[in-house]
């Protein structure tokens, strides 16, 4: 029961934090809410027997990726007037239509998902199993993922370098 209760709490936190993140005017505030949301999701991972995933979520997602955002926001040095502008943009005329679309999407997905039954597994999938699979059948995926990271690296290097060079 505890797990279930925890799940609902975590889920609520994740949702609320995400909504807040999406609606903030200040990027840093939003980022912090987002991190909260990611941590809550990590809790859910832990609850459904994926502790390894939970750890990665915290370390890489909430840690590394979000920090990347923080760096960039700091580099751009967005000021208060930027926040005011952002606030001004969140008018109902802007979000009404998209909200309807999102709700429709959600409703449809909900309707479809509702046909799924059954609980998640009672057996936790350990890090070892994941590791075995990762370097067993998925070994090629790891290799390609490396290439993917290389592409991201080269791309961001090329783009960022120019930015830095010009700044000087």
């Amino acid at each position: 029961m505890l797990e279930i209760t925890l799940f609902y709490i975590a889920a609520t936190i994740a949702l609320v934090a995400t909504v807040l993140a999406m609606t903030r005017a200040n990027a840093i505030h939003a980022l912090i809410y987002l991190i909260v949301s990611l941590l809550a999701v990590a809790v859910i991972f832990f609850l459904i027997g994926a502790p390894f995933a939970a750890a990665l979520e915290i370390v890489i997602y909430a840690g590394a990726i979000m920090v990347l955002f923080v760096f960039v926001i700091m580099m751009l040095n967005l000021g208060e007037e930027g926040d005011a502008r952002e606030r001004g943009l969140l008018q109902p005329s802007i979000w009404a239509g998209p909200t309807v679309l999102s709700l429709l999407l959600f409703a449809e997905l909900l309707y479809m998902i509702s046909t799924i039954e059954g609980p998640v597994s009672t057996q936790a999938v350990s890090a070892k199993e994941v590791g075995l699979a990762l370097f067993g059948p998925y070994v090629l995926a790891v290799e390609i993922a490396a290439m993917l990271l290389l592409a991201g690296l080269v791309g961001s290097f090329h783009l960022g370098r120019r930015y830095l060079e010009r700044e000087e």
């Binding site: 995400t18 980022l31 998640v120 995926a141 930015y163």
Partner: protein, 104 residues
Amino acid sequence: MEGLNIPLNHILLVSTLLFSIGMLGLMIRRNIIFILMSLEVMLNAAALAFVAAGAHWGQPDGQIIFMLILTVAAAEVAVGLGLVLQVQRRFKTLDMDSANRMRG
């Protein structure tokens, strides 16, 4: 960890909600940073669904995909933030609505 019986569809519900919120953020925000954040939310929602499904079937595959999603997210964000810097430098704004030189 005995007696875990969170219904799968509840987790999926959460992930769907997250996905929809991310989508919504994508549609309403003009600031490129927020747009990238929204994308992260959506990817994260998908990741949650994968891990849940993996847990449902008791397979590690869900978590592996989760890791791949992490990679993808990292790569995308890296390039994306690189672009953000360029956008700021050349357009002097982060408002994506102003980036509409091409149309028609």
